[in-house]
């Protein structure tokens, strides 16, 4: 068993004036596991740091223990520097965790320092290295969904040089934007907005578009997903390194609300879009009602686009029908930011009328066969009024596409209670718990086409940087600074196949595999993040984390309060 070199930092007396470093030195020089003990004044300062590095390098010291300041301070950089010399380096916090916090008890602090160093020595002597896996990352990508988000992701990936498979259940790319004649706030045509992207799917040789195609099965993990597609030309088997889910969402049909389906000229925003597309919309007074079927008990969320959408359509009604009036009945006007707030001001200046109502007292539609008016209690003025109108437009929210849940299950990512794909909170909005699977667009959460395009770009660069590595070590696939501790591994001989680990793993990294007449747990290294839950629930210790195995923990516990002489 190779020995350990111990470096103790005096920290210019900050540690040394409380902890008796000479006592520690003498004690551990006599320890059979220790090769040498060196006390320096300041391990993080260039001279002493260099000295430690040279010592480590020249004496080919395989194991180093540092006693210095806290891991949240400079000590971590010292540790990383020494680790570059090829040694396994651990550290004990002798400053914030010992000398400073027990400053009035030098004897107690010295005893504690001795114990903590002893414990780390036990760790270094008993730890093992996890088996790593070098993953060859498949250099192709699959994008599911060819709306603005999916198009943006596919084009971004292709421009970065990756062969991209773009799948859509419809016959052509474009998604919902295909039917939008004008997009807010610029009023550019919907298809025009994504024209470059759509053209590129045809022109860029790296993009292959599969229309009327669905996903039939998914196997594998980050870097190597085996996906089967089913389309008009039969089945296709793909092996891709990453997958971008941009499967979109549906717009709620306001069945049974405000006379929709019973009274004529009570329509949805999609329907008014279609009327604009076929020619001028003829009406004298259009009334838009916001939050229909949204921000209620059933769907307590805001669908992001409906307020700006109504502003756009209200202005269009007035532009295309000189003398026409437009009313927007709302509970709050959701136009956050600079651009949208300016758009709201523009609508106000244009003459769109805004009436606020409370959720408890929604407007009522008037008319038998055709809409004739809307009665609304204006909560700002406290007066009820009837607006004569010949067109009522209902703003309904995005709802999760009915196929989202199945897709999420196939790709093993969670969905939230509304059916939208869940992301890694809080600053990885297009990434999911399953590495290699990215989400963007309205299937993630209701957003505008601009936001969907930006999310597609975000997913593209993240997928591309993963693929760009070409080979990746499973141990490096960690969001934790310093990398993964290791990989859990089950001893096949001892494993009883109980399945506790399979149930508890947050990343679905444990699987039961049949060997002969038993089931044995197998850890998918690419997915394991070393949280340790599987180790904790294993009934007989078959599952271990080699870097902090049961011998390590047991020895550390035994030494924690050993008498110090």
């Amino acid at each position: 068993m190779s020995k350990i070199s111990l470096f103790l930092c005096n920290c210019f007396g900050e540690i040394g004036r409380v902890i008796d470093l000479e006592f520690i030195r003498k004690k551990f020089e006599a320890d059979p596991d220790v090769d040498s003990v060196t006390i320096v004044d300041s391990l993080c300062m260039p001279d002493d740091a260099a000295k430690a590095q040279v010592l480590t390098r020249e004496r080919r010291i395989g194991k180093v223990l540092i006693g210095a300041c806290s891991p949240y301070g400079k000590m971590e950089f010292v540790r990383l520097g020494l680790a570059k010399e090829g040694a396994a380096v651990r550290a004990v916090d002798l400053r914030e965790g010992c000398a400073w916090i027990h400053g009035k008890d030098p004897e107690g602090a010295t005893r504690k320092a001795a114990n903590q160093i002893d414990m780390e020595l036990a760790l270094l002597q008993n730890r093992k290295d996890s088996k790593d896996l070098t993953l060859r990352v498949q250099q192709e990508v699959l994008v599911i969904g060819a709306g603005p988000a999916g198009l943006s992701a596919a084009c971004g990936l292709a421009r970065l040089g990756f062969r991209t498979h773009l799948v859509d259940r419809g016959s052509a790319p474009g998604g919902l934007l295909n039917v939008v004649k004008k997009v807010y706030p610029t009023d550019e045509p919907g298809p025009g907005k994504i024209k470059n992207l759509v053209d590129e799917t045809g022109e860029n040789p790296l993009i292959r578009f599969y229309g009327k195609t669905k996903i039939s099965s998914v196997k594998g993990y980050a870097g190597d997903f085996k996906v089967k597609l089913t389309g008009p030309e039969g089945n296709t088997a793909l092996r891709v390194g990453a997958v971008v889910l941009a499967t979109g969402a549906r717009i709620l049909f306001p069945q049974g609300l405000y006379g929709y389906g019973k009274i004529k000229n009570v329509i949805t925003q999609m329907e008014i879009e279609r009327r604009f597309a076929t020619g001028a919309l003829n009406c004298k007074t259009a009334v838009f009602i916001q939050c229909v079927g949204a921000r209620n008990a059933e769907r307590p969320y805001c669908s992001t686009i409906c307020c700006p959408l109504s502003l756009k359509n209200a202005m269009r009604v007035m532009d295309e029908n000189p003398g026409a009036r437009a009313y927007v009945l709302h509970r709050d006007i959701m136009t956050p930011g600079s651009v949208l707030e300016a758009y709201y001001r523009k609508a106000m200046q244009r003459g769109v009328q805004f009436i606020r109502f409370d959720a408890e007292r929604p407007p009522e539609v008037r008319g038998q066969e055709q809409v004739s008016g809307v009665e609304v209690f204006d909560s700002i003025s406290g007066v009820s009024r009837v607006i004569d109108s010949d067109l009522l437009v209902l703003s309904t929210p995005f709802v999760a596409d009915p196929e989202s849940a199945a897709i999420a299950r196939m790709f093993e990512i969670p969905v939230d209670k509304y059916g939208f794909y869940e992301e890694v909170y809080p600053i990885h909005p297009v990434e999911t718990r399953n590495d290699g699977i990215f989400i963007c667009g309205t299937s993630r959460w209701p957003v505008s086409s601009d936001q969907a395009i930006a999310q597609g770009e975000a997913a593209a660069i993240k997928a591309a940087s993963f693929l760009g590595k070409e080979t990746v070590s499973a141990l490096a696939m960690s969001r934790v600074p310093g990398g993964k501790l290791g990989h859990a591994a089950a001893d096949a001989a001892a494993c009883t196949g109980c399945g506790n680990c399979v149930a508890v793993c947050p990343y679905k990294a444990c699987r039961l595999q049949r060997t002969g007449n038993r089931s044995v747990s197998r850890v998918i290294k690419v997915r394991c993040k070393a949280c340790g839950n599987c180790v904790a629930v294993c009934p007989n210790g078959a599952m271990q984390m080699p870097e902090q195995n049961y011998r390590v923990t047991g020895e550390m516990i035994r030494r924690a309060f050993r008498e110090v002489r």
Partner: protein
């Protein structure tokens, strides 16, 4: 469109907050070189200094700490703290940038956080950096320093230098991403808000650090005037924002920010009466409306729709009056509060930088004009999630930008 843009670029990212770090990391992870320039002492920006974060209601520094460390440790990212981009010249499709670094009096590379300067300083101007900076260092408040230099004598690593010169580094970069975030704008010109007339009328960021768990009051909710427990707090939305006199934009983050602050006040002291005076309660974003719903039952924070016309300290010194119209009842009210928190006065940082700072073209409201690549609040008022998305999007666009 020509595919295969495989040549590695060098990108300058100006601003090291959530947006800047997300962009920098995405670029570096794809093999491109990044110069990440931050004017403050450490990366993390405004969000790292917040007490809590919405909608998770957890601490803000912890997730950011991971990003900060990843940026500092990545071999492709050069982090320039205490720095600014002084000049930026474009020529032949690329840029030459001069990055000026003003190493603070206490050099963070040499400071070991021993605190001897703090003990030695007769005026108490040597103080530790904010609570959750890793690694921690000490700072000297230059404005109040008496120049006795005692600290320099006691510093064991000779980290203290009073006559430092600025260091300049010239770098050649292919693209620039602006991610300088937001700063507060003074509400003094809008006299009706009463900011500056009483210690208990404060902005939301002032209130955030005042009530911080890691702050001087350890999370206790106290009046700033006399440290007594307030009986009531008013949160005023759209203070300075959606106001053609000062900031025409909607600052996007304040409604959720007020809900978060008010809910935390109630958690720490359920007896404090909290009222949010709003115009539109903008809860656009994942799970935001549900977050607000917690208060609609009337058991928690009270939401009142009305924009105050006047906020003034009451004569006699006890309390602050808020005059407004409650649009639900159409009645004019004057309510008394012990504290008033003003939300909304955020502007994009680039709109008010001193002269020795390069900046891109800005639009009339101070946001980066779309001719330049930007992300986060300098582009458009945005919360953390939106900023992270825009940052990744900006990173992609900076790699693919046509160089001709």
């Amino acid at each position: 469109m020509q595919p295969t843009e495989k040549k590695k670029r060098t990108i300058l990212v100006v601003g090291g907050g959530v947006a800047g770090m997300s962009a920098a990391f995405d670029l570096a992870d794809s093999g491109h070189r990044v110069h990440l320039v931050e004017s403050g002492h450490d990366l993390g920006g405004q969000v790292a200094k917040l007490d809590k974060f919405y909608p998770t209601d957890h601490c803000a520094f912890c997730p950011l700490w991971t990003e900060i460390r990843r940026c500092k440790e990545h071999s492709c990212i050069s982090v320039h703290t205490n720095s600014r981009v002084e000049t930026l010249e474009k020529s032949n499709g690329s840029y030459r940038a001069v990055i000026t670094k003003s190493t603070p009096v206490i050099d963070p590379d040499l400071c070991i956080y021993c605190g001897r300067c703090e003990s030695a300083c007769p005026k108490g101007v040597a103080r530790p950096i904010w609570e959750h900076a890793y690694p921690p260092v000490y700072l000297i408040d230059g404005d109040r320093c008496g120049d006795c230099r005692t600290c320099a004598d006691v510093c064991p690593t000779k980290a203290i230098g009073f006559d430092r010169e600025e260091l300049q580094a010239e770098v050649a970069v292919d693209e620039v991403i602006w991610s300088a975030g937001f700063t507060e704008v003074s509400l003094a010109p809008l006299k009706e808000y009463g900011w500056g007339t009483h210690p208990d009328i404060l902005t939301s960021l002032e209130f955030e650090s005042w009530k911080a768990e890691s702050g001087e009051n350890k999370g206790a909710i106290l009046r700033r005037s006399n440290k007594a427990i307030p009986r009531s707090i008013a949160f005023i939305q759209c203070a300075g924002a959606r106001d053609l006199r000062l900031l025409p934009q909607c600052s996007a983050v304040c409604c959720m920010h007020a809900l978060k602050q008010a809910q935390w006040v109630k958690r720490r002291n359920p007896d404090i009466h909290c009222v949010i005076l709003y115009t539109d309660l903008r809860t656009v974003g994942r799970d935001y409306y549900e977050y607000a719903l917690r208060d609609f039952g009337g058991n928690g924070v009270r939401l009142v729709r009305g924009r105050p016309s006047l906020i003034y300290p009451l004569p006699g010194g006890d309390g602050i009056a808020v005059k407004f119209e409650d649009t639900a009842t159409q009645k004019r009210e004057i309510w008394k509060f012990d504290m008033v928190v003003l939300n909304g006065n955020l502007k994009p940082t680039l709109s008010s930088l001193p002269g020795d700072n390069a900046r891109p073209e800005l639009d009339a409201e101070g946001f980066v004009n779309r001719t330049a690549t930007s992300c986060g609040f300098v582009m458009e008022p945005a919360d953390v999630t939106e900023s992270a998305i825009q940052a990744s999007s900006a990173a992609l666009r900076s790699i693919l930008a046509d160089k001709s």
